[in-house]
């Protein structure tokens, strides 16, 4: 008996909106974003993207994540049956938080982009001691 399927496949969503000058479909990576008092952390599923083909940038409060997949890996392959298409990944987020750009860290791990966006010191909530007078 097969174990219960807890996980389902969601069809890849294409990037809507601004049209790209280059042909080809772009997909929206599924993301998780977690915030705590020190940082924002983002995970984006971008299977097929290696470290050198992932891009993260922060401009005017807009975080852009992008990833390229290489069609060269499919050079000698002719498809018989497919359930998913491949394409580059692209997604943007407007950040309300004040991020310390110099301390942003990003890495690719097993096809997942992980981005750590530390908040600037003054953007963090500070506890002010209330002393008894």
């Amino acid at each position: 008996m097969t174990p219960e399927q807890e996980i389902a496949t969601r069809e890849k969503q294409e990037v809507q909106g601004a049209e790209k000058t280059r042909p080809g479909r772009y997909f929206v990576p599924a993301v998780d974003i977690r915030e705590n008092e020190n940082e924002l952390k983002l995970w984006a599923d971008m299977p097929g993207v290696s470290e050198k083909d992932a891009e993260v940038s922060l401009n005017d409060g807009v975080l852009t994540i992008a990833g390229k997949v290489s069609p060269a890996a499919y050079d000698k392959l002719s498809p018989l049956y497919t359930e998913y298409n491949i394409g580059n990944y692209f997604r943007q987020f407007e950040l309300n938080e004040d991020i310390d750009e110099a301390r942003i860290k990003a890495r690719m791990r097993n096809g997942v982009l992980e981005v750590e966006l530390p908040k600037r010191e003054h953007a963090r909530p500070r506890r002010i001691e209330v002393s008894a007078g």
Binding site: T2, P3, E4, Q5, E6, I7, A8, T9, R10, R22, P23, G24, R25, A30, V31, D32, I33, R34, E35, N36, N38, E39, K41, W43, D45, M46, P47, G48, V49, S50, V69, S70, P71, A72, Y74, K76, L77, S78, P79, L80, Y81, T82, E83, Y84, N85, I86, G87, N88, M108, R109, N110, G111, V112
Partner: protein, 147 residues
Amino acid sequence: MALIRWEQFDPVGSMLALQEELGRVLRNPAYNLGLSGYGAYPPINIFDDGEGLAIMAELPGVEPASVNLVAQRNTLTLTGNRAREEEKAPGAFHRREREFGEFSRSIQLSEGLDLEKATARFESGVLTVKIPKSPEAKPRQIAVETA
């Protein structure tokens, strides 16, 4: 003057061609390979690589060590667990779109494949299983002798 095709300068152009080719056989019922069904995780693509089959599956965030592949007769079964990253830091989630959990998929393979010689590779969250054709299934050149 040499003629150079534009695509050579434009890898995205070849991306479009590839996307069209992949879309052409998207869930093509002509190739019913006894799959456990659409919507099952992970999604898979099956290719002919000249030597045999190349089966690819997108498994982002899955540890290679947790992927389990078993070939029995003509059935290839892929199981594993997509575990959520450890959450040491506290915090609130603004987005939670990624799914986690256990998965299992079986693929019924056609005759004439040599499962003994199957190889698997996991790179950037993509699993590729290559299964060569068995020697009997490969075309064999027959020498024509003269009398």
